[in-house]
């Protein structure tokens, strides 16, 4: 199998353009609904979430918990607008998301719920209460960390490669981040999937992986340019991509294998975390092969450096001696 990606680049760019457009539309729709590009979870929006499980050792677990019953209890506390979800096998657990409750309100609500639906298992309870300050903090610190790592990556790649490699690697990376965010925007709109702070962790991982992937291909292209300065950049990029293709596929495959294991068997909390990473990694492999490399070829061609041997600003060898 030999790919002529630089000749088909408008095709690959079109695909990415359409996916990015869909992502942006999803985020715009989310923005109109939630004032945020994604459906914000508890961590960002603030509030209190109670995840309660009926204790079947003591309680009557004959029938699933009735959401209507839970809702009427919430109404007596002035919390009608809360989100209620009954889940678990046989519907024995219920998750209630409300505005941020203080200690007394939370205690009253729990007692009221316990009276209505029966004793709860305190061993399997999860209660999270997040004030608005924390949400903002999580968001800004995540964003700041992201920007600083971008800057670090650009500096390192400019030193080891050249500035155009570095900038284009970041372009490919933004592509992957946007695709993942777009998918979660749509998941939020259609399936009510919320993003929490783990999603930020996932995005950051995608950043790491995406650059990783791009760097391996760029490394190969750089080597080819050094060995064959007389060849056209399009051919060198095609060669570089084809030489690293089986590596790209195998690495993405093995990483996605472990992540699939988490999606299938992992705990509830980690499922969407792993899904986000799978999307990001697949997109990362795609963008490294079809976007980052074609952009590099296009840019070199446009800036008159298509053939390294001819240009005045010949590729400076960065530290290493070329190997023959």
């Amino acid at each position: 199998m030999k790919l002529n990606i630089t000749r088909q680049r408008s095709f690959w760019w079109l695909i990415s353009g359409l996916v990015l457009l869909a992502s942006l539309i999803g985020m715009i729709l989310c923005w109109q609904q939630f004032r945020a590009p994604l459906r914000p979870g508890l961590d960002f929006a603030g509030g209190t979430r109670l995840q309660l499980v009926r204790n079947c050792a003591v309680a009557d677990c004959g029938s699933p918990i009735e959401p209507a019953e839970v809702r009427s209890i919430l109404a007596t506390q002035g919390l009608e607008t809360s989100v209620i979800q009954v889940s678990g096998e046989e519907g024995q657990s219920v998750s209630v998301r409300t505005r941020n409750l203080d200690v007394d309100e939370e205690a009253t609500l729990r007692t009221a719920l316990e009276e209505a639906i029966g004793p709860l298992d305190s061993q399997a309870t999860q209660i999270d209460s997040v004030g608005p300050v924390i949400g903002r903090q999580l968001f800004t610190s995540g964003l700041l960390a992201l920007l600083v790592s971008f800057a670090g990556i650009v500096i390192y790649l400019s030193l080891r490669f050249q500035l155009d490699y570095a900038v284009l690697a970041i372009v490919a990376l933004l592509h992957d981040v946007l695709v993942t965010m777009g998918l979660f925007a749509w998941l939020g709109l259609l399936l009510h999937v919320e993003v929490n702070s783990l999603f930020i962790v996932a995005l950051l991982t995608i950043v790491g992986f995406s650059v990783n992937d791009t760097v391996v291909i760029y490394d190969r292209i750089r080597e080819s340019i050094r060995l064959h300065p007389e060849q056209h950049i399009n051919d060198l990029v095609d060669d570089g991509v084809n030489q690293t293709l089986s590596r790209s596929i195998n690495t993405t495959l093995t990483t996605v294998l472990t992540l699939m294991a988490i999606v299938l068997f992992g705990g509830e909390t980690l499922k969407f975390f792993a899904l986000a990473m799978i999307i990001g990694f697949v997109s990362g492999a795609y963008s490294s092969i079809f976007i980052a490399s074609t952009l590099l070829a296009w840019w070199r061609e446009r800036s008159g450096r298509a053939i390294a041997g001819l240009s005045d600003t010949a590729e400076p060898t960065t530290g290493e001696t070329p190997q023959v």
Partner: protein, 485 residues
Amino acid sequence: MGRQRLLLLLIFGLAIAAIVVISQVPTRLGLDLRGGTQLTLQIQPTEEIPVITDRDMEAVQRVISGRINELGVSETSVQQLGQNQLLVQLPGVSNPEQARRVLGETAQLEFRNQKPNTEQQFQIENQILQQHQVELSLLQRTSDVTSTDSSVTADETDAAGEGDQELQAVQQAIRDSNEAIADLFAPADLTGERLTDAYAQPFNNSNRWEVVIEFNAEGAALFSELSRNIAGTGRSIGIFLDDRLISAPTVDVQYADTGITGGGAVISGNFNAESANDLAIQLRGGALPLPVEVVETRTVGPTLGRDSIERSLYAAIAGLILVLIFMAVYYRLPGILADIALVVYALLTLAVFNLLGVTLTLPGIAGFILSIGIAVDANVLIFERTREELRSGRTLYRSVESGFDRAFSSILDSNVTTLIACVALFWLGAGLVKGFALTLGIGVLLSMFTAITCSRSLLLFTLGMPQFRKPELFCPGISTAPSKS
């Protein structure tokens, strides 16, 4: 070949050491895995104290630690987060509501007047309290040992449960003692707001230390009246922080006429530098009218935590096995050797986690799984390069050598960029992100080490044996003709 054998011995030794470390040093699990309550407290500035300094934070932290000690939980931790937040971790769900209530209060410091004719009773009660406190610290030490041990059997868990009951009994006894002692004192209207400062200083250049306290004008007047009443009677001034007695100095008879005037006083006694400083910090904490707000609480039930840890562990193991099978099938002999290197890698990484005391949380486990992916990637890069060299007709030995050499710059560049991201995340990220960045960063460093030393030595060592010196074991389908080396 001798060097290869030596390196292999070293790696083998490291792997054994790692197994010993994993079995001996307990893995620290985050609250999301073992269950418990985590609270984030925000210290609010006030009109009097618009900027919260490190000294203020230290004082507030001491107050919070004092309150946690009464909650009946072992292995608690209080950490400062940023400029004005404290992160409190309470493993095991004892009573999250109570914790939220107690920790969210503003500290209360009060100077009280000992009631007449309570001298003897005070001594007895104080002795009982001291005794209980010794018991408590002993119990906390032993329970720390049992409950962090990862290999607790059912019997030991029961014993730990009994230990917890004992712990709670002692804590109840301490609460009772504190109440009994508080009963012996009468309020004197002098509270922490009137205390302006407290600090420790050495006493006459000796090893002895004393604590200096300073009041504002109003406080000075109240204190001189209080000290005059007490002076020479043998009774003491009770200094209470959150209704717990933290010091009970007596006042010398020479102040019986005027009391201690001027707004300053010195508490001397059996202080060393540490205990004097501790009292000063407690006093300062009580002097701060800084409101504490609980801005975040997360409570995970213990079975819920155990459930997610088991599932994630199974998922990680299943994923790892799939990767091992894939490598062996696709890359043949080097794949199998890489599998050995990967297992060594996983052992080393877990051992380093335990040694460094890394707290494993769910994102931390994710970081670990991802680092396995990166470790695999390093091997894949090397083997792909080796195959290429073989196909271009080089000898087996040279192909393996240059496979490593040429893949190195890719491995280095891609891992350094990942490390840069890890450093940024660890430096700027909040809790979860930090844990993830740490495990991923450690994983990346170790994966480079094992890919370069372990995989390489294993491969070169295997090539030393003639029965393995066959290119088709490295690259199926290659013509064997040009590779007789």
